[in-house]
Amino acid sequence: MPHDDSLMSRFDQQGLRKFRARDGILAVLICSLVLVLFEGPSIRRQGEQMNKGPGRTLVLAVGKPAGWLGDKLPLASASHDATSWLSPDDKLNAADSFANVAVTNTGIPPVTPDAFDQADLNEPAARKEPLHTLLVTGDSLSQPMDSELARLLSPKGVKVIRDPHLGSGISKSFLVDWGQLSADQVRKHKPDAIVVMIGANEGYPLDVGKKQIKCCGADWAAAYANRARRMLATYRQGGLARIYWITVPLTRDPKRAAIANVVDASIFVAAQPWRRQVRVIDSRPIFTPDGYRAAMKINGKETIVRASDGIHLNEPGSKLLAEDVLGRINRDFTVG
């Protein structure tokens, strides 16, 4: 292998060698100094983001003093400002700030604490109040569950008012207007709790302003939910009462089932602002977890729970539902 001088002599012979190795080392040192002065905080940040290990220790050993120096001198921020045009930040509008969330016109009222069920929060449970008056209402679906609840609660001193309106529906105000009826019920009885089960006779077109909306798209569901929400607003009596709204179990007839699906979805949406006071009791996991069924096991025994029409619950079914509802009531009230 030839000597180094002999290799470098090629350049010397041509007069091409301009710099020495020392000059190269000096250039690297100058670049390192410039880097430390202008990007010291970046080295420190990079080290802080690395996983623990010798590499991180080494980078931080340089990055920390370099960062300190960068913090003290204006060079790092000057460099950042000078090159900011290469990756500009998105311009943010002050009007979109969270500070303005309450006044921003989103078209939707702000969320209030009433939207949260205490059971979902790490709050201590509210003190249970005694249940004096229970109103059980709705269409024919509320029967004979209303009798079962009366049978369970009346002996314990609870006044149970049964007010079914057979053949009625939230979407058929020509028979009875549930907006008016719910207000009348509250005025007359002032119930502490209300159990509602309605939805067997729905599917009529809904009048919204001058428009008539046919069942069962999103527009109809929204209009139906608005009516149900109006009822809930009345029943909750400013937050003093508790409401137990039971969904419609799947029906045998697919056409009715399609309507019931929309009705149930609407109820969940309607109840959202007042989950502190409104308990939506979903009857489907109880009676129709995997589609319609006329019978199910109760206490280990196969029992028919639906009426022959494939819509209503029969007595054993209603009894089972009443027991479930009572369990929910017991979480909110003292009974007896």
Binding site: G167, F174, G203, K255, I259
Partner: protein, 113 residues
């Protein structure tokens, strides 16, 4: 002179109010069980008793459902009947008015289809 005038006025008022009462239909509180899948939702009678009204109502039900769940019936038990329906795919809601001279039975029902 004044006395006959007062008596005539009082008698006129009695006749007037009784006529108005007869013309306006009275509601019946208890309704019979619907024989099919559905409900009778109201019954009003004028010039007949509630008991007669219920008989007409049931007779009209039997007459119209002879032709199926969506059947109609224009006369029953000497009454001429007209019907105003609101229907969707799953049910019919209707108000039926049956007349026989000055006698009137008005009832409404909800029939699952």
């Amino acid at each position: 002179m004044l006395r006959p005038f007062l008596i005539a006025t009082a008698l006129s008022l009695v006749v007037l109010f009784s006529g108005a009462a007869a013309a306006s239909a009275a509601g019946c509180s208890s309704l019979p069980r619907y024989p099919g899948s559905g409900y009778f939702t109201s019954l009003k009678v004028s010039g007949v008793s509630c008991s007669t009204g219920k008989k007409v109502m049931l007779a009209h039900y039997r007459c119209r459902t002879k032709h199926g769940k969506t059947g109609r019936c224009s006369s029953v038990s000497g009454y001429r009947c007209s019907e105003k329906r609101r229907s969707i795919e799953t049910e019919i809601d209707a108000t039926v008015t049956c007349k026989r001279g000055s006698k009137k039975v008005i009832y409404s029902y909800q029939q699952d289809t």
